[in-house]
Amino acid sequence: MKDLAGYRGRTLEFLRRASAGVGDVLEVKTDWGTVTGTVVPRYASADDSHVVLKLKTGYNVGLDVSRLRGAKVVAAGEKPSFSPSPAPKARPGLPKILLLGTGGTIASRVDYRTGAVHPAVDSSDLHALVPELSEIAMVDSEILFNILSENVKPLHWAKLASRIAKAVAQGYEGVVVTHGTDTLGYTAAALSFALQGIPIPVILTAAQRSSDRPSSDATLNLIGSVSIAASADISGVYVGAHLDESDRGVALHAGTRVRKNHTSRRDAFLSVGVPLAAVWEDGKVRLIDDGPPSEVRKALFRPKPKFSNGASLLKFYPSMPPSLLPSLRRSGTKCLVIEGTGLGHVSSDVIIEIGRFVRSGGMACMTSQCINGKVDLDVYDTGRDLLNAGAIPLEDMLSETAVVKASWVLANTRSAEEARRMMLTNLAGEMTSRRLPG
């Protein structure tokens, strides 16, 4: 059975007639000469008129099958034989770190024959690709799930939190989670609430440039994050990523105060309203911030890996139809986080709907689209109207953190009063008591 990955319609027909498949060396005649190359997979989204051959020089070319004559297979596809370089020996005595994969490729190798990129699949593979890790820690790795980060749902947060809780019981001294960058901040917030009081560091890390590239930021982020997890005197949930555009340092961000603030830069993650927790640079960790108040940090570790799908986030904008609120309510939203303007404001027609939302038994919380600063509903009439309608001002909580928190709160209490109290309590460093200069 021939592998015809990506080919369809006319090209599929063409390859079938030539009894060729991916990996076979095909010789075809064009208007300008004979071309010989290995058939490589075609992108599923590409058209069905070009067959792609990889030439001996390494280049791929697309040839229009309607203009080709005399296609014949001159050599059958050979399977690449893979012999990974031996993994360095684990060094007993180093801290035990668990590396959890959730998707994305933190380390990978390229099949230059077909152009495919294969991620590291287990610990030994990972060690072969990033041998530096065995100098830092005894790393066990495990792929928990393999999905794009935009497909991460509350059920994945729950699964991840449970596995990390188990890692604490297994005696790991730190956990590093690899995760796509897009929703990394949300997952970090989710783990922060589910794993309050965790006695070991949990560091989520990622790459903005995929690991098949020589310039990938994955390796530095991984080495930096494992180093911090293995050596720093910290606990709690953090995000570790490039400090700046250089391959020099990894910044550690508090899990509830971190935001992806750039679509593509290596230093996309920023700590909002709080200093960095730590910086790893030149092989050393420098602790900067103690993080949340001690009662938060010293909370008893009682993992609560449960999340609800009943929380929604809505960004207010001038032309927003107020009817969005009842429609969200009807589709199951129990807690609505509204990202208001300025100090946390919305238009008066939306305030009316917020009142109805709350009277129907829902919970409505206010955050600000300013990103920096806290909401305050006591300054203007609009704010006071919102308070009267039942809106809960969430201080300086980030909107993304707020909706994750609401999802966690809904799953962990049935009482509306308790839910309101939890939303307003600083559980995992998600709110600050003072906004500081700098």
Binding site: F82, S211, R213, D244
Partner: protein
């Protein structure tokens, strides 16, 4: 055999020509050279493992040098795409069209769909660790001196970052050049003389320029040469920046490779096997006599001794002047950022005494026929350097090893790194596929400009330039301005061409600075000649005055040199005065007095009048003087 002939010499030429495009290939940055870089960042590239688990030798070499790359950038010429901080945008249609024009000009076949690939390059010259490149066409040919030279491939690719230096900490690159669109044309290997290879490069450059879409000026065209002799491996020489260096580099490489083959022959004659070992000898002798070694040790470095059996006497041997195996080993050490080496064929000359040599030989267990090579420097570096020197020397029996070398400004070559293995390429998934429908190709074929031979013929026929001047003009950056001026001005086209392309290099040798003779200045000068404000003979003096800073504009220079043009009557009265005061000469030499008189006049006129006018007036006046009865003339003279 011709003196320049090298039997068995094969040269494959790859020409990399920058295109003149409004933006870089994969981003919207303008193409400009940056002098001041306000920002920098530092990166390390890591060789990605291939599916086979094997690493590329060239990649391992670069990685083992273990120096981060420092990238300098400026908003005027670089953006986040150049810094590998943003995905590339798709290739502009215009650049693809230029590629197709080159294919049409060379008669090449074109693929139906071009795929941008990532070609792994981890020497730091690309921030991504790969070069984006797409092959557009294959086949075709060009004629050079009556010989048909085949084209292998036509490729569209991005230029690399500009290497700006290397210090102890890092290698430094400027990002202004990174991403500039290049067309690479690879030719079939040709045999023949180095001069012929030079002509091939020259003619290919002319074909590329005939598209009218390529960049001009120094550094916009670079040649890579794959050079081999019969029985030797292919040596890749990168970065020949000037066309006139191609022949020189080929000749140099041919001599170098022949010399290495001679060394190999000697080894075969000796029946010697070359086996190398490395031993640290930092503390074995005091190194007092060698400044290089004692300095390295004093700075906390170490000395490694490479022993190479069978090579004694062959490191310093020069089969041809300047070519020694020892020099090859030194270049390898230098590529590992080490100062150099000291080998046993030159121990006495380099301050290692006989006693010290004996101690070293004894410690390393090296017999008489074994050569010793001392490699000193910072410990890690010395270790890597010694290992590299050892592997190089073990290849001595092969003659010419496959390697990548760089071309110097003088047309020599130096070792850069081992030859990369098979090209490591995989698809650039961030850039869409480029379909090249037939219509696009025929449109490109239609917009290809006049073939260069036709342009040169047109210059010789319609503008009456000599073929030599026409070629110089075509090869210069001034052809477009020449065509415009030749049509617009009344000045002879040959004068325009000569002032544009012949005068500046001549005055440059005299010491007139280049910027005093930039195109705008030359155009200003030609317009002044055209308007009659100045004679063409005054052109060099005007440029000299500008060069010396005596004037800022051509008009000022004319004034300062009192070069304002003489009218016909002024010239006429000057002629008259001279003829009258030279009656003795004229009466003695009759018609042949013309030449000395003309010389005297021209030096007096000093470029203020056209030579043709002076000559006509003098001839007329002289004729009259000779026709006049002598008596009358003498009586007039008596008056």
């Amino acid at each position: 055999m011709m003196p320049g002939d090298r039997p068995g010499l094969l040269v494959g030429l790859e020409v990399h020509q920058q295109l003149s495009a409004p933006t870089k290939l994969f981003c919207n940055c303008p193409i400009t050279k940056t002098e001041e870089f306000p920002f920098s960042f530092e990166r390390r590239l890591r060789p990605a493992q291939s599916e086979t688990g094997r690493l590329d030798p060239a990649a391992v070499f670069e990685f083992s040098r273990d120096k981060p790359n420092l990238y300098l950038w400026s908003p005027e010429s670089s953006c986040l795409v150049d810094a590998d901080e943003e995905p590339p945008r798709q290739v502009s249609r215009e650049v693809v069209e230029t590629g197709l024009m080159v294919a049409a000009a060379l008669g090449s076949g074109v693929v139906d769909e071009a795929h941008v690939m990532r070609k792994i390059v981890i020497d730091g010259s690309n921030t991504t660790g790969f070069q984006r490149t797409a092959v557009l066409g294959f086949g075709g040919s060009l004629m050079v001196d009556g010989t048909k030279v085949g084209v292998q491939s036509i490729t569209l690719e991005e230029d690399a970052a500009r290497i700006m230096g290397e210090d102890e900490r890092s290698r430094i690159f400027g990002l202004d050049r990174l991403g500039v669109p290049l067309i690479e044309v690879a030719l079939d290997p040709v045999s023949g003389t180095p001069e012929f290879v030079g002509h091939v490069a020259l003619n290919l450059g002319r074909v590329l320029r005939s598209t009218g879409r390529v960049a001009r000026g120094l550094g916009t065209i670079r040649q890579d040469l794959n050079i081999s002799l019969d029985g030797g491996a292919v040596v890749e020489v990168k970065g020949v920046q000037k066309l006139n260096l191609v022949a020189k580099v080929v000749a140099y490489e041919a001599s170098r490779q022949r010399a290495l083959m001679e060394v190999a022959k000697k080894l075969v004659g000796r029946g010697a096997k070359v086996k190398c070992a490395v031993k640290e000898v930092t503390r074995i002798v005091p190194w007092g006599g060698s400044e290089v070694l004692s300095k390295a040790v004093g700075e906390g470095g170490k000395v490694d001794c490479v022993t190479a059996t069978g090579l004694s006497g062959l490191l310093g041997w020069e089969p041809a002047p300047g070519f020694r195996l020892g020099r090859e080993a030194a270049e390898v050490a230098r590529a590992h950022s080490l100062g150099g080496i000291v080998h046993s064929d030159e121990f006495r000359k380099r301050g290692i005494s006989e006693g010290e040599e004996r101690a070293l030989r004894e410690y390393c267990g090296a017999a008489e026929d074994t050569a010793l090579v001392l490699v000193a420097g910072e410990p890690d570096r010395a270790e890597r350097g010694a290992a590299a020197v050892a592997s190089r020397l073990e290849l001595a029996p092969d003659g010419v090893p496959a390697e990548t070398r760089g071309a110097t400004r003088d047309g020599e070559t130096v070792y850069m790194r081992p030859r990369p293995g098979a090209q490591r390429m995989y698809p650039e998934t961030d850039v869409p596929l480029i379909t090249l429908p037939k219509e696009l190709l025929s449109a490109a074929a239609d917009s290809v400009g006049e073939p260069w031979e036709d342009t040169v013929k047109r210059y010789t026929n319609s503008f009456r330039l000599s073929r030599d001047l026409a070629l110089r003009l075509y090869d210069s950056d001034s052809a477009p301005v020449f065509e415009a001026l030749a049509r617009e001005l009344m000045v002879e086209p040959s004068v325009i061409a000569s002032i544009l392309v012949e005068m500046p290099p001549r005055l440059l040798r005299e010491g007139v600075p280049e910027d005093a003779m930039n195109e705008a200045r030359l155009v200003e000068l030609l317009r002044a000649i055209d308007s009659g404000a100045v004679a063409k003979e005054a052109a060099p003096d005007i440029l000299r005055a500008l060069g010396a800073g005596k004037a800022k504009t051509v008009a000022e220079a004319v004034g300062s040199l009192e070069l304002s043009r003489m009218g016909e009557s002024e010239v006429s009265s000057l002629v008259d005065r001279l003829v009258r005061s030279s009656s003795k000469l004229i009466s003695e030499r009759r018609e042949s007095a013309l030449s000395p008189l003309m010389g005297e006049l021209m030096s007096e006129v000093r470029g203020r009048a056209d030579g043709a006018l002076v000559s006509r007036l003098l001839k007329e006046r002289l004729e009259r003087a000779l026709k006049a009865p002598r008596g009358r003339q003498s009586s007039k003279a008596l008056r």
